[in-house]
Symmetry: C2
Subunit: 303 residues, 2 copies
């Protein structure tokens, strides 16, 4: 048995080597590097699990269905990447590269951690003045957001730009409703001291779309499809790396088991319950509201 087994092992090794060697005429060194690693890991995976022909066919059918579930409004392959932690890995690597490029002048963990962009970013949100309610008429409990954007030494970055978006208090994004207008989205420009404040709502947990192939995969994995409550931000300023991140609502369900692995401990913030009265911006508020505070720290630009 060992003799024939070794023969097969050898010819499987040859197969991987043959596929890799076939890249020798590629004129794109980076593509060659990526495909060499991809082929090697793909073959390792197939051998590791001793993939059977019927399982291979299931995989082919799954990938085909995933591609065919994609529309202008839906990106099922990004959802697949998100739910397998691949997107988050790419995000972490990118931030690690930025940290390394800073030549050790700071500890990268002092920067605001990045997380996944998710599928609900909508280019071109309106710029609103500081203090605006960006979620006028949106379902949910009012929240006062404030903080400062600084460099890694805590020096304020005047005029930093925040691009903010979230779902509503029941976990629904504007984009999920056919023909809807933008809601709970805005760009805000920090003041000369790098400070920002605005009103929005306290976001709720919600499920990723489960009516496609990825939903079926999560089900077979024994996993739930939920993301904990969070508000998205892209924060940028000239001379600094743009950071795409979330702030997560402390005590939200699913913080420990985010379906897309986006939670970082440093991004979980307390929403402080406040009685009706005068808010920090001097505004008279007639209902209870929440206060959320977070200071963003940006990494110097790589370029």
């Amino acid at each position: 048995m060992n003799k024939q087994s070794n023969t097969y092992e050898a010819s499987m090794d040859n197969l991987t080597a043959e596929v890799v060697e076939r890249l020798q005429d590629s004129s794109d060194p980076r593509f060659k590097r990526i495909m060499t690693s991809l082929v090697t890991k793909l073959h390792e995976f197939i051998r590791d699990v001793d993939l059977q022909p019927s399982e291979w066919l299931t995989a082919i059918e799954f990938l085909t269905a995933t591609g065919q579930a994609c529309t202008e409004k839906r990106q099922e392959f990004i959802l697949l990447s998100d739910t397998l932690g691949a997107s988050m890995m790419v995000v972490m690597l990118d931030q690690a590269r930025a940290a390394k490029a800073s030549k050790g002048e700071f500890s990268a963990t002092e920067a605001t951690e990045a997380t996944v962009q998710g599928p609900y970013y909508w280019e071109g949100a309106p710029e609103m003045p500081l203090g605006s309610n960006i979620a006028e008429g949106v379902l949910g409990e009012a929240t006062y957001y404030s903080g400062v954007v600084t460099d890694l030494n805590g020096k304020p970055i005047a005029g930093a730009l925040m691009d903010v978006w979230s779902g509503d208090g029941e976990g629904n994004y504007d984009m999920q409703v056919e023909g809807s207008d933008m809601a709970a989205r805005a760009k805000l420009r920090c003041d000369e001291q790098g400070r920002y404040h605005f009103w929005s709502i306290r976001p709720s947990f919600y499920p990723v779309p489960v009516d496609g192939p990825v939903g079926r995969m999560l089900d077979q994995m024994g996993r739930h499809p939920f993301r904990p409550g969070h508000i998205h931000m892209k924060v940028s300023a000239p001379g600094y790396e743009l950071v795409t991140t979330h702030l997560f609502v402390a005590n939200s369900p699913y913080l420990d088991t985010d379906a897309v692995f986006g939670v970082r401990q440093s991004l979980i913030i307390d929403y402080q319950s406040c009685p009706p009265g005068v808010a920090p911006d001097g505004k008279m508020v007639e209902h209870a509201y929440w206060k959320a505070n977070y200071d963003f720290r940006l990494i110097p630009s790589r370029n």
Copy 2:
């Protein structure tokens, strides 16, 4: 630098572990095993090449386009699997399992080696009597195919079934023409001595479809899309493993660089040139023709 670098390394390790742990509630142990390996290798790949966000997006777009190129007549994901050597790896593993199941009673390399099925199998080819010309009216040079189907000790298998198909002498399959009838396809039943013979054509090399995402990938890899000339067979008999394989035309271009990595040395056979005259089956042939001989050796059934 090392400190922050280590921090990131650790949190990337945690991410992979977190994704794998999230499989703990899956009730399907085989699925869990496969997904654990897949996630691990996928994350290893992303880290190994330090995949950048723009490269990740290119991959998402490529996979999406591959899914959307699939139709009832075209399976671009199988083509992707074929051209990355993944299909051939699955084929080899399956045959290795069959060999192991035989408990070492023979050397697996004595069996007829399997290779990929390819996209042109058409269920339900007509059964024709031994000696038939299965490629009546098909473009290409006439070839007399003959041989015997035996077990691994060389004992003939009476009544073994061969399901044969190929493209024509210019490399085109019947299926590639809209609304075409079956051509160069047949089922043939071996005689009591396990012998078969039939007439068909000598197949030509041809390219895999290159007008989709996989064609663009091959181009960027610096690879040609050609397969060497070959004729396909599924050979089966009760009590034996069905083998899906090809016979390759010796001296065909691209034998060394088959676009789908399907060539096995043991499957390359000489096509012997014969002058007009009486053929081995007693038929008078008025033009030059080829003779091709191959004996199939089947592995005992696993079940």
